[in-house]
Symmetry: C2
Subunit: 511 residues, 2 copies
């Protein structure tokens, strides 16, 4: 492998900006911008530190510091003795549902008082998963190939034809009343919730529900408990609020943390990333813990409609058994229709509900009026039900294809539970094999991607460096067609075998 | 006027809830819910305190406390010697763009550490403005009767037909790249901004831009400076963050506040509520203040496209002259298309931009993908321009109708500036006349509504009780047809004359 010549960097720093915008920061920003914009391409070699420093008339420390920062952020990589290179292909966010994590993750924390847990692994890793042509198990999203495009197009068109400009009128912060009533209806029918629209608030996706809970319950420095592993978006929202996010196993005795927690976030049904559900006993234990610790619980029920087995429904939501008002229940149409549709809901009891609505109002006034009406129509005319039946059948096939392909490679020592719902399967690698991060690098090289375990782990007992984190990985099957699933698992198996054999003591090669 | 019999209140409190949900709170929540739901109607008389207390088996203090709280919140009103009554008609949020303020304003503060400025006036007042049949100058919104319903319907339909499920794919937190480029284009052409899409982030309306600025710059207890008077939604967003919001006149010497401010929020062009614009000199002074105090400025430019006079454009944005990166620039399609469309943008320089994008991600991942594509299409195919030309013409007619009607009543002592853009005109009442709040009550009785001055004023120099606040009021003309404008001004004039004459020392009536 030859080393490329360093590129010419035509750069001008603004010396007049002075202390306000230091030269080193300018250099960091400009180089980052160029990598993001693609004008510095992956693999390109940057000028040596001293040469660039001389040309820009800054100290070598300034240039070295800028390079170091961009290496930490994942934009550049250093190779000992060879120089500094552009690390990754530029982001194509539209192609990669994980890209938003990148946008957030590559950045410095913005609340200076917040204790900053470092990213659980080099986030640059995940960017590799955006390469075209990969079989990607990385995206835990509703399948785009199943999306009800035509019903949605019809609903939007009908709403505008029938309601005209009224469909574009801004409404109350808590949302379009008929949609709230329709949400209450499907929660009563399918999630065991005894609610009407008076305690349902429309949100811009489940993520906004989490953010509103953080706004109402959490101040900088407060402790938030999460399952270990947990949903990445929730970890980001709580960290952005300056919270100390601590992962705990959700058991009867699982809440012994050094500081009094302000909130507990969990996904009791078809959890992301593990696909597991809490038993009835654990749910009741959780409600007892809430009462005895006076601890509000955020129930993320975004997978609660994606039951794949039996004729019945998913286990009833945690909120269904919450008679004391401790549970804030969240869900989203993003998982039911398509991820780009930013429309979800929260359910909470009166004193808290009103605080959440006030926070929603201060956040963005209300969710999009037209989309609320169109989705309302999909719910009430039955199109959502029809779509969901169809989608569940497809997800079941995909889940089955994944399970059956994994069973074929089980001799390689991987283990997993069969998920009964949702979009994800949690795989555990053999104890004596590579870590999930090591496997990831080899897997991407061979054409298959997933999300390695450490990304889902927080500080606390069994953190990102624990055996559970290092051996675990998430395979999301929802958005992958069955033939690709089979191919992907074979590539994964090859990667696992390849890396395991490579790690063995060298033997004489006879071929 | 006879006093109605008290109603029968069939109520059951949950005694088992105990300390978790005190009986008094239950009573407050239940009564509030019934007023909101309309099962307790305006004017209905509540049972006397002692009777209800006996029947519910609680202390009279519990009932009295609940009534008192609901009176403060504006749901009930007490009349000395007559009893307690339901105060206002139930909210019909869909009909009243101000209703979201109610939802937020009627609530207890949710950040306990926040110093809570009380509402600047009884918010129940504004609820009166939602009565049907009023000529309402209360809503500062894009006119629904002008909304480009058909172009939007076509755009949505075309996007779904052409892009299919891709239009429903979740994108990067900063937004759909072609839309960001299109926004940069219109900002370059019409707002004097030298930007490309790399520093444009799509937001869910201008309100979310304000909320993101609060998240990035402001902690509980920090001082935020605002113009006096200022935009109600901004005041709510900063207060929700726990900020101390202080109103200052924006002058060269206007920043002498006791604590170092963290942020300044202003609307330099066609300000809401006054309709005024800052002069070039004041804009430059503001930028010098930013530099010397190291103070970030949030420029709300949401009216910057609504210029009504001359052949040219609005004054260039403040951001256009900001070469040091102090200005965070906000705008929104809500004012250009319709208020229910929750889509706006922010522009900021690199170090801050990335923090704002991270905050956007943690807030709601991204804005709705489909709406972003549809609005992108409206921009690039020229439909937005065509609509804006048409809308500006209509707004000009409405502004002119308002000004000409007001000139006819100028003998009553009211004064105003003619706004050169935006949706609002600020009227000042004569010094010796009624306050704008007094006038409001009389005006609503006679069939015309507006927003009284104190709603727009914060703590600080010239607060809600200042002469400027009490004498001022906002007339929003954008959403009122010219004949209604003329009728509304006459009603207003009648109300002013009526209240002024009633206030004079009684004279013998000869008619």
């Amino acid at each position: 492998m030859t080393t490329a010549e360093p590129i010419e960097l035509s750069l001008a720093l603004d010396r007049a900006a002075g202390r306000r915008y230091p030269l080193g920061q300018q250099l960091v920003d400009e180089l980052r911008r160029r990598v993001q914009a693609g004008s510095l391409g992956p693999g390109e070699r940057l000028p040596p530190v001293r040469g660039l420093a001389a040309r820009l008339n800054v100290t070598p420390e300034t240039v070295a510091g800028a390079y170091k920062r961009l290496v930490e952020e994942g934009y550049l990589r250093g190779e000992i003795g060879r120089g500094t290179f552009v690390a990754a292909p530029p982001l194509h966010a539209e192609e990669d549902p994980l890209a938003p994590f990148e946008a957030a993750g590559a950045l410095p924390p913005f609340a200076s008082q917040q204790p900053t847990p470092g990213p659980p692994a080099n986030r640059d890793l995940l960017r590799l998963a955006s390469q075209p042509g990969l079989v990607s198990f990385a995206a835990s999203v509703a399948a785009l190939d199943l999306a009800p495009v035509e019903p949605l197009r019809r609903a939007l068109s009908d709403v505008l034809a029938k309601d005209g400009a009224k469909a574009l009128q801004v409404g109350a912060a808590q949302g379009y009343q008929p949609l709230r009533a329709a949400i209450a209806g499907i929660l009563r029918e399918q999630r065991g919730l005894d609610v009407d629209e008076s305690t349902v608030c429309v949100t811009s996706g489940c993520q906004q529900g989490i953010d509103l809970a953080a706004k109402v319950f959490v101040a900088a420095g407060d402790v938030v408990l999460v399952e270990q592993p947990s949903f990445l978006g929730a970890l980001e929202a709580f960290r952005a609020r300056g919270a100390r996010v601590i992962g705990v196993p959700i058991e009867g005795d699982g809440l012994r943390v050094e500081a009094r927690p302000k909130l507990l976030y969990c996904m009791p049904t078809y959890q992301n990333p593990t696909g597991r559900s809490l038993s009835v006993e654990k749910r009741r234990a959780l409600l007892r813990i809430a009462a005895s610790h006076d601890l509000p619980i955020v129930e993320d029920d975004s997978a609660g409609f994606i039951h794949l087995d039996g004729d019945g429904l998913a286990p009833p939501s945690l909120k269904a058994e919450d008679h004391a008002g401790y549970v804030l229940h969240l869900g989203t149409f993003s998982k039911l229709i398509a991820a780009g549709l930013r429309l979800g809901w929260l359910v909470a009891d009166p004193p808290v509900f009103e605080k959440l609505v006030a926070a929603k109002y201060a956040s963005d006034l209300s969710s999009d009026a037209l989309v609320q009406r169109a989705v309302h129509r999909l719910v009430v005319d039955g199109a959502l039900d029809v779509h969901l039946e169809h989608a569940r059948t497809a997800y079941r096939e995909r889940r089955n294809a994944l399970v059956s392909a994994l069973q074929q490679i089980s001799s390689s020592g991987v283990t997993f539970d069969v998920p009964e719902g949702g979009f994800n399967l949690w795989l555990e690698l053999p104890r004596d094999g590579p870590s999930s991060t090591e496997l990831f690098l080899e897997a991407v090289r061979r054409g298959v991607a997933f999300v390695p375990g450490p990304f889902f782990f927080s500080a606390g007992r069994d953190g990102p460096a624990s055996s559970a984190a290092l051996r675990g990985l998430r395979l999301s099957y929802s958005a992958v067609a069955p033939p690709d699933i089979e191919r992907g698992v074979h590539l994964l198996s090859d990667a696992l075998r390849g890396i395991t054999e490579a790690a063995r003591p060298a033997e004489p090669l006879v071929y």
